[in-house]
């Protein structure tokens, strides 16, 4: 099993509903976010191109955060999802410094927090992650890459896509449809 997510940059309007849904679902402390919206404007005036992306932890196959963690708090859970065990985390910040996507932050309670793909609270109950389920443009797809009939497998079969900083060698599992 390999959980992954795809975000359609051609459908995303940057409304930030995914951000709010995540903060509500996961009790993210005020002022922090586990997912966020990035708008990129590229080109030469007047020929400009905009891309809007809903970003979060890439749940990399080769995660530098898991490698750097001195206590094993950062680990691979079911389906390759990268999780942090708060009771093992000493809050040293090594994983935060090791993430090329800056997807982690220190929770005010001390441990390091990040996107979980809503593994425990939603995915294991058969639901989609909070961000995917609220998206008003239905631009996000989630599922098991090993299952050819999962929404994410189907969309990646038919569309061009990219990942972020593939040259960092982390093998990210958050795909952006272009």
């Amino acid at each position: 099993m390999r959980y992954a997510m795809a975000v359609d940059t051609r459908k995303c309007v940057g409304c930030s509903d995914c951000v709010v849904a995540c903060q509500t679902e996961n009790n993210v402390p005020i002022g922090f976010c586990r997912d966020w919206v990035v708008e990129v404007t590229d080109g030469t005036y007047p020929n400009l191109e905009a891309e809007i992306r809903s970003e979060r932890c890439n749940h990399c196959d080769n995660s530098p955060c898991v490698r750097c963690c001195p206590t094993g708090a950062s680990h691979y859970a079911e389906g390759g999802v990268v999780l942090v065990t708060p009771e093992k985390c000493i809050g040293c910040g090594a994983c935060i410094a090791s993430c090329p996507y800056d997807a982690r932050y220190p929770h005010p309670d001390g441990y390091v927090d990040k996107c979980t793909f809503c593994l425990e609270n939603r995915v294991k109950k058969g639901l989609n992650p909070a961000c995917v389920s609220v998206c008003p443009t239905k631009c996000m797809y989630f599922g098991d890459l090993d299952d050819p009939n999962s929404p994410v497998s189907k969309i990646l079969k038919n569309r061009k896509y990219k990942t972020l900083i593939p040259e960092a060698g982390t093998n990210p599992q958050l795909y952006f449809l272009i």
Binding site: S16, V19, G31, F32, C33, W36, V37, V38, E39, V40, T41, D42, G43, T44, E55, P64, R67, C68, C69, P70, T71, G72, A73, P86, E87, K88, C89, I90, G91, C92, G93, A94, I96, A97, S98, C99, P100, D102, R104, Y105, P106, D109, G110, Y111, V112, L164, I165, E167, A168, G169
Partner: protein
């Protein structure tokens, strides 16, 4: 001109707009760890070579400050932790891929070794020292009997401690400035250099001071060589590495690095040591003090500049 403008909705504390998760505690610890490693290395080396009589400060006196340095360094690390009460989790596992785990276990070995070394030489500081209990005398006799293996253990573990302070940073591929394997040898050399400088400061023996001034001069030469190689490597690498190097070549860290680290921390003390070796008389403490301060500033600059370097996407 083609432009790319990135607007992000993320503003996480200590992460945005630029990573600053590691503050003064980490560079201070890296400096203290490197300095302690340097002093312990020379103590072990000259003990193994049976040169205690020629270099009494290096072998017997200077190691007295290492438990203090290590304790202060560990205190700084502890202050840095965000989830302090769980610090013991470091010692419930050994994670071979994590340099920080290696470092935690190395400190667990080096700190007791430095304390044992001090205990064996305690009569130098306190001639009337009495261990009071018989078992403490037996323990002292045991370690004295095995001083040679102890010195070898200290030699190897101090080298690991010195090199790990650099590897800790070089393991982070997310920060291109740190992500160079030169950083391990560079921090080790800098640590040995500050250690030699500390021995010069503490020594009352002119011949010993001169030897360590020579050693320090050689180490400064190696350090300059490694720094040049680091920049050559960056400039011949990818755009993110070129951007990382440009922090020091015209960017925000240019003046602090080339003035305080390279000029005042390496070049001028090297010149002063050279003059001293050539028998020009001058206050002996100027060069080592400059080397030590330069080493401290060097750790600060690398830790802060590294957090400013990143992959752009």
């Amino acid at each position: 001109m083609r432009e790319e403008i990135i607007v992000s909705g993320r503003m996480n504390h200590l992460i945005d707009p630029q990573l600053h998760i590691w503050n003064w505690q980490i560079p201070l610890y890296l400096f203290l760890g490197g300095l302690a490693a340097g002093i312990l290395f020379f103590a072990a080396l000259y003990s193994i070579l049976h040169k205690e009589k020629e270099f009494p400060t290096a072998v017997k006196l200077a190691p007295f400050i290492t438990p203090v340095l290590l304790a202060l360094g560990l205190l700084a690390l502890f202050i840095d932790l965000h989830h302090k009460l769980y610090f013991w989790r470091l010692y419930t596992t050994l994670r071979l891929q994590s340099p920080m785990s290696w470092g935690a276990w190395t400190l667990m070995i080096v700190t007791p070794l430095s304390l044992i070394w001090c205990a064996l030489n305690i009569k130098i500081l306190f001639p009337k020292w009495d261990w009071k209990y018989k078992w403490l005398y037996q323990l002292e006799a045991f370690f004295r009997k095995h001083q040679m293996p102890l010195a070898w253990m200290m030699l190897i573990s101090s080298l690991i401690l010195g090199v790990y302070t650099g590897i800790l940073l070089s393991a982070f591929n997310a920060r291109p400035l740190w992500n160079t394997s030169i950083l391990g040898p560079l921090f080790l050399t800098s640590g040995l250099s500050t250690g030699a400088a500390a021995i010069v400061l503490m020594s009352k023996n002119a011949a010993e001071r001169l030897t360590f001034a020579r050693i320090d001069l050689m180490l400064i030469g190696i350090e300059l060589f490694l720094i040049i190689h680091m920049f050559m490597g960056f400039l011949a690498s990818t755009q993110v590495h070129i951007d990382a190097a440009s922090l020091f070549l015209g960017g925000a860290y240019t003046v602090p690095f080339w003035l305080f680290v390279v000029t005042l921390g390496l070049a001028i003390p090297a010149l002063l040591e050279l003059l001293e070796i050539r028998k020009f008389h001058m206050p002996y403490f100027i060069a080592p003090v400059m080397v030590i301060i330069g080493g401290l500033i060097f750790r600060f600059i690398i830790v802060y500049a590294g957090q400013a370097s990143r992959w752009l996407y």
